[in-house]
């Protein structure tokens, strides 16, 4: 019984597995973009994104 339920848990349906993979890719890219525009330190990035950082209330300067 236990073995059976753990086997079911281990083998996620392939559609769910695919959704999780896509979610992780989207999450990584999404955080990366927000980090670049809202938090990254290089001066050129800061200067270009300056008004957006203030407007969207990311900590700035």
């Amino acid at each position: 019984m236990n073995a059976k339920s753990s086997a079911t848990a281990a083998a996620l349906p392939s559609s769910r597995l695919e959704a999780l993979k896509a979610a992780f890719v989207a999450l990584t890219l999404g955080f990366g973009l927000v980090w670049l525009a809202g938090f990254a330190y290089p001066e050129s990035v800061h200067d270009a994104a300056h008004d957006t950082r203030h407007a969207l209330s990311f900590p700035c300067h």
Binding site: A23, F24, A26, L29, G30, L36, D47, A48, H50
Partner: protein, 220 residues
Amino acid sequence: MIARVLTTGLIAGLVAGLAVAALQHFTTTPLILAAEVYEAAQHAHDGADAGAAFSGLSRTAATSAATIAVSIGYALILLAAMLLSGDAIAPRRAALWGACAFAATGLATSLGLAPQLPGMAETELAARQIWWLATALSTGAGLFALLRLDSTAAKIVAVALIVAPHFFAPQPATPESTAPAELAARFAAASLAVQAISWALAGALAGLVWRLQSRQQELS
């Protein structure tokens, strides 16, 4: 699946970002420019050099590009959250996810770090960024537990996650703003409104584009 999520995030973020950039152009940016006049006057008085790296059209373009990047990021984060939680991706539900994300990244963080104009007093940047991120993540997790989990223990943990960051809020700097208080107040309100619209629009459009793509797949 990955291609479809990325396409949806790109299209939704691009459209939402353009709309928000237009909104910023008429709401927050004029206030930032006005604040910089006061800041520059103070710098000139102190004998320091001050000047924006971008000006005119290139500044508008740079700001719009940054806003589009953030909007694509928001759309992708919302899509990922809905996929992880097993939700159906639809415009109304996605907009609600966006509203909760605004509560986490906009409302909760502004309690400790109010939206700031250039020239306002500020403390060390890294500490503020860490608190901002921690508060947004903690509030987001708390809201999810509060709204989606049924056990009493989960609700207690949820409230703790939402409240706890505010005990560690950064000490505000001694007020020494060069910008007039009226300008700062208008900016804080405008910033919150722009943030709310960014999240809700990124979510709603992501839901809409996702649905349109589903229909197209059914037809082909």
